[in-house]
């Protein structure tokens, strides 16, 4: 079945089983491997993408759900919030192994887009679903605050 959607700003028609998780469409069908497989059951956030601007777990979002939607992945995210997040991540050297960081950046960018000056409680609520086995959490929190400052200019 052919599903039409917009992926990183480009109109795409994807012919695959609509029950396939978007994660595997992105990674295997389209070769966008920046979105990571961590658990497959919406428990870790490594696979976080934006669907119409909202962060979702692509391992539990199915191709059929994306009909007509606007999908953004780590490869395609470009916005003032995303730029501020990346700059802060780089400045504080947040990543260790890095495997969770695509998902962290997608979640943090969504947070900052929605809430340009997040409190620690906002960060807790937005980021607790994103696991980092390297435990870079303290830097993630600091980097979100730093990005918020950068955004403010």
């Amino acid at each position: 079945m052919a599903i039409s959607l917009t992926l990183n700003g480009e109109a795409r028609v994807i012919d695959a089983d609509p029950e396939t998780p978007l994660l595997w469409i992105l990674r295997d069908t389209l070769g966008l491997t920046g979105t990571k497989f961590g658990c497959g059951v919406a428990q870790c956030g490594a696979c976080t993408i934006h669907l119409d601007g909202t962060p979702v777990r692509s391992c539990q979002t199915f191709l059929g759900d994306a009909e007509g939607a606007n999908i953004t992945t780590i490869e395609g995210i470009e916005s003032p919030a995303a730029a501020a997040i990346r700059a802060a991540w780089t400045e504080l050297d947040v990543p260790q192994c890095g495997y969770c960081q695509s998902g962290q950046i997608m979640a943090a960018t969504a947070l900052l887009t929605e809430t340009p000056k997040p409190t620690d409680e906002d960060i807790d609520a937005a980021m607790d679903g994103n696991v980092c086995r390297c435990a870079t959490y303290a830097r993630i929190r600091s980097a979100i605050h730093l990005a918020a400052e950068k955004l403010e200019g």
Binding site: W24, G34, D93, C97, G98, Y99, R133, A135
Partner: protein, 729 residues
């Protein structure tokens, strides 16, 4: 079609005696005397300077070859720092990639084989990588001296530039080709610490960009090749079980599935993509033979360990007469501890891609023990190790999981590739993907351990005798490392941190029992220290409080002969304001431990939530790891080490019911999350001592520091882990 595996293929364990000759190492590490054919990368073009550890290209880039796997610990940047400093390169011209598998050139100097582990990467490379930088620098200078007809001594090098007072100057790239014709100096002089430009400063990691942009091809999981097939395996659901038979008719009907292959380790479903392979696996029907499997529950196993510690064990360490001292003690404090199996659960589950053409094989993965991986694959495929190429990739964590003495995941990939060819297929890239469930249920856990401790005190509260019994499955027995590490039945990694404690303890006696189970066990970030530090540091706290002494002062007294451990303890106490009043509902606990030749003290400040669970608010830490090569990375490793240890101590355990693992994913093996993470403050002791480990030493003290803080509040020490068992998490 119903398949019966009547005679399973021989298990792919390395017959180590045939190719490994273990010899005692002068450096006190593992030395495997072996020679593998193959040579380091050769010069590709005449305009580059190609050395084993770095390539300087005509475009001026300096490519450092990391012999170590970077699984997040930052070693790639660390090694590049060493090279760049002695070379006087500009930081922005430095790049890094992983070295090929070649034990002769890229061995870990402490292991004698190529491999990363035991927090040895900087320690064993510190001299070697600096020397590599200095050598290349000398060759560039020699080339410039010739080209400019000036004495070499008059040439200065700074930030990637060679220059002479006459006004002549050149970038490294311009001189690289000429330098390659220069003789390699035997021993180019190294800088003195006051001349370092990068060492000791926090230069940014070289891998941050690729890890914040979703760059392709970074991890093993992301490898893609034309025509590649993805394999997911149905493995036995009990350890020691084997495949008896399987029915694959439904699996073959799944869209995208191309073949099903029975292997000794499980049944592989090969498909055009990962999702199809996973669905194919779901449709398989497999019967396992559990006749040789571990059928017990973890509770039964824990009981066995506790019973073992009631009996004297093999002597691991003995000084004086502990029993006599305990008999004569004014007071004896006794405690029993129980530690669960722990999964590593790195963020990237295991994966490996193989291409085998019948005479050579190439692998792509985050390889951590390349030499063993190479030898195991060679043995499975009937080749010599030089016919096995390994492309080491960045790993999404490991914490020990990828450092495999039996290289089981390489063996499985090699068997699959061989079976694929044996069926008459053309060579094809095959990628095995482990799901999170495969990872959590897959074994190779931190062993379940039990400790029984009896400490004797005199009337003044001084320790007069200490008997310590440990029981659990040895990590080393039965592996290629056994004959080196295991002495008189004692695996040092089961008891490390006890007998060799820097505390001045009289009449200290350590005994060990090696339990048997088919559950495979492995080193898990900080190995034996994961449990020994917990017991040692909670017992000392308990003893101090029984004696009516301050826990920090009591430890200081026992550390008089170890100034480095004493210094981290004192600094931590000072920075944490030990002894100063705390806000209402806050409690402090301290722990200090030496591991991997580094010293770490941690003071945890905790509170309790309304439901009685513990919240770790803040951890203050001091570390002495010798020369701090990259202070910010040291901080990152301590932060990560604390988080990793804390998650485990709070609520991680792998349990078995009738031999089957109860946990399967992050909804049952609950990882540390952002809201669990304390604020962390790290202080680094300035040092000119040789650098020592940093990837692991942050982990051991956090558990006991938090347990001691809980005891400060409640007067009781948690001895049955994890804390969730006592409603504390």
């Amino acid at each position: 079609m119903l398949h019966h595996l009547t005679s399973p293929i021989a298990a792919a364990t390395p017959s180590r005696r045939t190719f490994l000759k273990l010899t005692a190492g002068a450096a006190g590490g593992l030395l495997l005397a072996l020679r593998l054919p193959g040579s380091p990368a050769k010069a590709a073009t005449g305009d580059s300077l190609v050395q084993p550890f770095l390539h300087i290209r005509a475009d001026g880039s300096v490519m450092v070859l990391s012999k170590h796997l970077d699984k997040g610990q930052g070693i790639a940047t660390g090694l590049a720092t060493l090279v760049a400093d002695e070379l006087d390169a500009a930081w922005d011209q430095v790049q890094v990639e992983f070295a090929p598998a070649n034990a002769e050139v890229y061995k870990n100097l402490f292991f004698g084989m190529q491999g990363t582990g035991g927090s040895t990467a900087i320690a064993n490379s510190f001299q070697q990588y600096r020397q590599a930088g200095a050598t290349a620098r000398a060759m560039l200078i020699a080339a410039a001296a010739k080209a400019w007809s000036v004495p070499a001594g008059e040439i200065t090098v700074s930030a990637g530039n060679l220059s002479h007072a006459s006004g002549k100057s050149a970038g490294f790239g311009e001189m690289a080709g000429l330098a390659s014709a220069e003789p390699v100096p035997a021993e180019a002089p190294l800088k003195t610490p006051d001349q370092w430009v990068y060492i000791g400063k926090s230069f940014p990691r070289l891998d941050t960009r690729s890890k914040t942009t979703g760059a392709a091809g970074v991890y093993g999981m992301d490898q893609r090749f034309d025509n590649m097939l993805v394999a997911v395996l149905a493995r036995p659901n009990r350890f020691g079980g084997t495949v008896a038979s399987f029915d694959d008719s439904a699996a073959r009907a799944v869209d995208g599935v191309s073949d099903i292959i029975g292997l000794p380790s499980g049944v592989a479903v090969l498909a055009k993509d990962t999702w199809s392979a996973m669905q194919g696996r779901d449709a398989l029907s497999v019967t396992f033979d559990d006749s040789a499997a571990e059928m017990r529950s973890s509770d039964e196993m824990a009981k066995e360990l506790a019973e073992l510690t009631a009996q004297p064990g093999l002597k691991a360490h003995g000084e004086g007469d502990a029993e006599a001292a305990l008999a004569g003690a004014a007071k004896v404090i006794e405690a029993d501890y129980s530690f669960p199996f722990l999964a590593h659960a790195p963020m990237e589950p295991l994966d490996i891609t193989v291409l085998f053409d019948g005479s050579t094989a190439t692998f792509w993965t985050g390889a951590q023990f390349q030499t063993i991986d190479q030898m195991v694959a060679a043995q499975v495929l009937g080749l010599t190790p030089d016919k096995i190429a390994i492309n080491t990739l960045w790993a999404g964590g490991s914490f020990g999981r990828r450092a495999q003495p039996d290289s089981h995941y390489f063996a499985e990939a090699a068997l699959l590739a061989k079976a694929w060819l044996d069926k008459g297929n053309a060579p094809r890239h095959l990628k095995i993907v482990w799901t999170r469930e495969d990872d959590i249920k897959g074994g190779y856990y931190r062993p379940m351990m039990a400790h029984k401790v009896r400490v004797g005190l005199d009337a003044e509260g001084r320790i007069v005798g200490w008997n310590h019994r440990v029981a659990g499955k040895s990590i080393m027995i039965g592996t290629a490392f056994e004959s080196f590490v295991v002495k008189n039945g004692v695996d040092e990694t089961s008891v490390e941190g006890l007998g060799n404690t820097p505390y001045a303890l009289e009449n200290l006696h350590v005994e060990v029992h090696n339990a048997k189970t088919a559950v495979p066990v492995l080193w898990w970030r900080s190995v034996g220290h994961t449990h020994t530090a917990y017991v040692m540091e909670t017992m000392l706290d308990r003893v101090a409080r029984e004696a009516g002494k301050d826990p920090v002062a009591y430890r200081e007294e026992l550390l008089k002969n170890d100034p480095r451990k004493l210094a981290v303890l004192k600094l931590t106490a000072e920075k944490a304001g030990w002894g100063t009043p705390l806000a209402e509902g806050r409690f402090r606990g301290v722990a200090v431990h030496k591991s991997f030749n580094s010293y770490v003290a941690e003071i945890a400040e905790i509170s309790f939530r309304d439901d009685g669970t513990v919240k770790v608010e803040k951890v203050v830490c001091a570390v002495d790891c010798g020369v701090p090569v990259n202070p910010d990375n040291i901080k990152a490793q301590i932060e990560g080490g604390i988080g990793y240890g804390l998650g485990a101590i709070l609520r991680n355990e792998i349990t078995l019911t009738a031999g089957e693992v109860d946990q399967s994913n992050f909804d049952s093996y609950l990882p540390l999350r952002l809201t669990d993470m304390p604020q962390i403050e790290v202080h680094i002791i300035p040092s000119t001592e040789a650098p020592t480990g940093i990837g692991e030493p942050g982990t051991p003290p956090i558990g006991p520091a938090v347990a001691n803080a809980i005891a400060a509040a409640r007067g009781e020490w948690v001895t049955n882990l994890p804390f969730s068992r006592s409603g504390l998490a």
